[in-house]
């Protein structure tokens, strides 16, 4: 019963995705509610799955009864169950805002948007659970297709343009990944990661071969994850999308690619040989560049959504840095940041979406005096921003602390320096906005509707993971141990 739970989660989301447009014309409200219920159910099932795999060890499930290496194998490890739980929970929370967001949308668009959101969630779950490279690739493409779709969901010109840019670079990334999968298959004869990895470990391959495979994977996945310097599509795409889509793309989707990279790298090569091949070093370098460049670009933005998008470029660097540092502490830091940043970035996007709606402009000047207009959303924005800066007792600090530890354990003494520098840069672009919110002179009239659905659960979770990170981190270190072993 439990063994097919991973497949059940994916299939449930897939089926409801395609049912949504059928009903949305007549029963829009009901469709939105059902979509929400399905996502919450998926979230609940993944949480349950997580609890089970933590207790009873990972689950391997052969789809259709064909055993690996011939059939498609799905594995639920603590790592994948955790990532799917995080993704579904954040999607479910963000979807609470759908009825309000889609108020003025034609039903056609509303329905397909719900389809794309559910499809995206299903694909992310599928990609995370897959233990099979080709299956991974298929879900990888479905994730990409649905993200291109939701970026283009708005009708204005920039949306189509941004989506196209995203699509072209995304397609290049996909080709690289597919090429890498092809080489892996040609070399090892397997698509199943466990078998391929056993082959690579046993065979005396010329060192260039695993290096080429890893590099192709890295280029492809880093392109999709928006790692500097392959981030150029990200600010356009994440700022052109509707608010809920921005929250999900920045908060969740890019992180799933990072997890895919970690899975493939550790699954195929293992930490020691990654270090020996210099791949870990390459990941760390890209991560550091991303952290610093993303923050520097964010400093000069005047468009709040672009600013948040560049901040995502920087923050995805933290995740890659954690994976690149390796060790249980580093991987746990990366996983923790996936959750923490998902919560922070989703809160920031949702809260600023409300300000954009009220002011009719994405310029950060619109935040002036927003504190009096929308006290609660802006308080949560402030909380999330301070957490980004990494003040102690907030979630961002825990990430920093674990990255410090991972860096020092790996004897890479520049890690604390870079991370501290980055938090200063974060302060440099977030604090002026916070200052504007509370002390700026701006119109304080005109808020008919002050509620932003979903913001409070995000904030509660954010505070909780910041104040009580210990149980979570124990779990994550366990997950990291599974990944590395």
């Amino acid at each position: 019963m439990f063994n097919n739970l991973p497949v059940l989660i994916v299939v449930m989301l897939l089926i409801s995705a395609f049912l949504a447009p059928l009903f949305v014309r007549r029963f829009r409200r009901a469709t939105q509610v059902v979509a929400g219920v399905v996502t919450w159910t998926a979230a609940g099932l993944s949480a349950w799955l997580l609890a089970r795999v933590v207790q009873a060890g990972p689950i391997r499930f052969a789809v259709g009864g064909w055993p690996a290496p011939w059939g498609i194998e799905v594995t639920a490890t603590p790592l994948s169950a955790f990532v799917v739980t995080v993704a579904t929970v954040i999607v479910a929370i963000v979807m609470l805002g759908l009825p309000r967001e889609q108020r003025d949308w034609p039903s056609n668009r509303a329905g397909w948007y719900i389809t794309l959101l559910l499809l995206l969630t299903a694909a992310m779950a599928g990609m995370t659970f897959a233990n099979d490279l080709f299956n991974l690739y298929v879900f990888f493409e479905v994730t990409a297709l649905s993200s291109w779709g939701i970026v283009a969901a708005k009708t204005d010109r920039s949306a189509a343009d941004a989506s196209f840019k995203y699509l072209m670079l995304g397609a290049i990334g996909s080709s690289f990944v597919l090429f890498a999968i092809g080489i892996t298959y040609v070399v090892t004869g397997y698509l199943n990661m466990s078998f391929a990895s056993a082959f690579i470990a046993a065979a005396q391959l010329h060192p260039i071969i695993p290096w080429v495979i890893a590099t192709f994977f890295l280029v492809g996945l880093a392109l999709k994850a928006g790692l500097f310097p392959m981030h150029i599509w990200l600010p356009d795409a994440h700022s052109a999308a509707p608010t809920s889509a921005s929250a999900l793309l920045s908060g969740v989707v890019v992180k799933v690619y990072a997890v895919a990279m970690a899975k493939v790298f550790y699954g195929l090569f293992g930490g020691a040989s990654l270090e020996a091949m210099g791949i870990s070093e390459m990941v760390r370098l890209a991560a550091v560049l991303s952290i610093l460049a993303g923050s520097l670009f964010a400093l000069v933005q005047t468009d709040i959504k672009r600013l948040l998008a560049y901040s995502t470029v920087a923050q995805i660097g933290y995740v890659f840095l954690g994976f690149g540092l390796g060790g249980t502490v580093g991987v746990a830091a990366a996983l923790y940041h996936i959750l923490a940043h998902g919560l922070m970035k989703a809160s920031l996007f949702l809260a600023s979406g409300k300000v954009i709606e009220l002011r009719g402009s994405r310029n950060i000047k619109g935040f002036a005096g927003a504190g009096r207009l929308l006290p609660l959303p802006m308080a949560i924005f402030t909380l999330a921003a301070l957490s980004m800066v990494g003040l102690p007792l907030l979630a961002g600090f825990t990430t920093k602390w674990y990255l410090f530890n991972a860096g020092l354990e790996a004897r890479l003494y520049w890690v604390p320096v870079v991370v501290i520098l980055s938090s200063l840069l974060n302060a440099a672009y977030f604090l002026p906005i916070v200052w504007r919110i509370w002390f700026g002179q701006g119109e304080a009239e005109g808020a008919a509707d002050r509620r932003v659905p979903g913001l409070i659960p995000l904030a509660v979770l954010l505070v909780a993971v910041g104040l009580v990170p210990n149980p979570l981190l124990n779990l994550l270190q366990q997950a990291a141990a599974w990944l590395i072993s």
């Binding site: 189509a160 072209m168 996909s174 080709s175 597919l178």
Partner: protein, 123 residues
Amino acid sequence: MAEKLLHNYPYLIAALIFAVGCYIVLSHTNLMRKIIGVNVMETAVFLFLVAAGNVRGGKPPIIDLANPDVAYVNPLPSALILTGIVVSVSVTALSLALVVRIHRQYGTIDADEIAAIRSAEDV
């Protein structure tokens, strides 16, 4: 060495086509050509996989129980490519749809001209 390279020429050609496709996407400003470039890249990967699955002198993998010793062509890469083609078709379809929308909204399908229009709007 040269012999080895000649022997494996499909792989080399695939890599070459891949690079050409990548170059097309990145260098051209015409959106249609970018789409063609992406297709070229994908085709290169398909070629790579088909070549990998080929066994010289192999037969189509339809099992004939009468002669069990026949060498078959590996069917798995072809199956993968079928899926890959489906994905590539949907990506192409989506990108064409977007190009149509871009053309309707900007009146051009040249990336530079679009960028110029957008920067003019921002000011």
